[in-house]
Symmetry: C2
Subunit: 345 residues, 2 copies
């Protein structure tokens, strides 16, 4: 067995020398290097921005979604949407561990895992797409994938269905970062509050800010507003279009005693929501973009354009302990678990 | 006089209701609203990423650069490059102050100012482009522009040439944010260290980290390395291609006792340098993207892909006191001022 680069550069075909995530094409040859792990893949959880883009580009037709996914993986050796740049994650079973890693990691052949690195850098070969669950961005396949030495993963828990764990782990970065950012008494706006990551962020923010804080959830529909109110995951729920910053600002001020908020967290999976995330935040406050539809220049120039001295953070899908924290939320709160089971499994 | 929106939404033509920065087209009608300021424009300092894109798209031909700029401003009512999304800034003289602002701000008609909000949201009408200074991204014009009530600006200082002040103010966010981020004894990598913003960041970082810190400047050419070494603006200068993260990582480790660094600051004006900015940083360290060529998804997914728990910040062009801090650098250091006069005026 040959030894590869810790970060997977040995599999990059074009352009040579860069890391797999940025590459146009990587090798999905399933011959294993000594510091790689071979996974027998069962399902892909495609990133929400990516799945929405593919679904809309083919008018929602399931067979065409399959075709498009096979085409992307065929061309690139990985499931990275060329329009959004994003990927997703997978679950599967450990088929083989490279000789340099064997015994040095907490994995054995046969373990069920979810990869917590993006599909946008994971060598993937699809034999067959067996099902597409359109409402949960999930693609069931027969296929194989490779995990590099630097790749992070979570062993799937035994006290919940693997589809449930996967749905939660897919957005694990968001609640974990929310827990790091929010402090007691903070006022926090969560955009896309009733979505997959938004719900988790609301729940975590409520725990952190306490009863004198103010968690404000922005949602698009009355149905989502009702859901959040029923769950009690926010102090205040507001309804509006996240692409209309002036309207969002006014509605936030209304439920926050006319004051700008301390922190905003963007969990919306459509474009052009940067300014609604920035405008309601006080000077020296924090703006956290978890949405993969965020535009760097729109955020950077937008904040400058309205003279806002705010700390803008690029949502990092990984932070220490993020998998454990997220799975713990589902164990802690039966209502959250139930909603996840109903909507995302 | 009618009163407009503080943030300029009254001038947005398409799509209606959003802020001017995100708009495809805004009104550059020069009839003034009561909370606007009319500026007689002398010159545009086009954002480096934008200018480079335009210059390369027309093969460096000055007349074609002029044509392309007139075309963009004609279509959009503002100088926002549709490819990069970025703008730049302008200098000019206050021609008229709207009745609602008169006497309430520290400006009078006839004052020379630089706008510190981006051209990407500033209503602009160009009568004539009189000169293009290709090597300093500067476009001299006859024309008018509008500053909104929320717009930030700096009165031009009297102790230096206005072209010098403008060149420095254009990148004012970078050194000011560097000063906020860096602490004593920190190790700091600055990518694009010999560029316009890079030089300012190096200078500021050296002041903050002190003699036991380590400021590492990454440059592309021997000439730039010689310049930085001569100036003494870095503890260590390394040469390499910022699009090659593995090479950059190895060179950083070499000059930092084999240890990952605390902070990296990206001032490079080309694409695909995200991973070189992320890879050398220690867990819990800070990654600051000042480059407008940064891709949000490449940064977000890239950090996750290599399992890096780092705090990634979107460079905000505005922070309190940024203009004063930046102009103070030029007064403090004669060598820095001389280089700015030679290269960017």
């Amino acid at each position: 067995m040959k030894k590869g680069c810790k970060y997977g550069t040995h599999r990059v075909i074009e352009p040579v020398g860069i890391l797999p995530q940025g590459a146009k094409k990587i090798s999905n040859d399933m011959e294993l290097y000594s510091n790689e792990i071979l996974i027998d893949v069962k399902a892909l959880n495609v990133d929400s921005a990516s799945f929405t883009q593919i679904k809309e580009s083919v008018g929602g037709d399931v067979e065409k979604i399959k075709e498009r996914i096979l085409e992307i993986v065929g061309e690139r050796g990985k499931m990275q949407n060329p329009v959004t740049g994003s990927g997703g994650m997978l679950i599967g079973t450990i088929e083989k561990i490279g000789s340099d890693l064997e015994g040095k990691i907490d994995l054995q052949e046969g373990d069920k895992i979810a990869t917590l690195v993006s599909l946008s850098l994971t060598p993937l070969k699809i034999e067959e797409i067996t099902d597409v669950k359109v409402n949960i961005d999930r693609v069931e396949i027969k296929g194989k994938a490779i995990l590099f030495e630097s790749g992070i993963y979570a062993k799937l828990p035994t006290d919940m269905e693997e589809t449930l764990a996967l749905a939660a782990l897919d957005v694990a970065g968001a609640p974990a970062q929310t827990a790091k950012l929010c402090k007691e008494n903070d006022s926090v706006l969560i955009l896309g509050a009733a979505g997959k990551s938004g719900l988790m962020c609301c729940y975590e923010a409520m725990k952190k800010v306490g009863k004198n804080g103010n968690v404000i959830g922005l949602v698009r529909s009355q149905k989502d507003a009702d859901l959040l109110n029923e769950l009690g995951f926010c102090h205040n729920v507001i309804m509006g279009d996240a692409r209309n910053p002036v309207d969002v600002l006014n509605k936030v001020l209304e439920v926050n005693n006319g004051k700008e908020i301390d922190i905003s967290i963007n969990c919306v999976n459509v474009t052009d929501t940067e300014m609604s995330t920035i405008l309601p935040v006080r000077d020296d406050g924090t703006v956290y973009f978890f949405s993969m539809a965020t535009s760097f220049t729109k955020a950077a120039l937008g904040a400058e354009g309205v003279g806002k001295d705010v700390n803008m953070i690029i949502g990092n899908g990984y932070t220490k302990g993020h998998a454990d924290l997220t799975l713990a939320e589902l164990r802690e709160n039966q209502e959250l678990r139930k909603i996840y089971e109903e909507l995302y499994v």
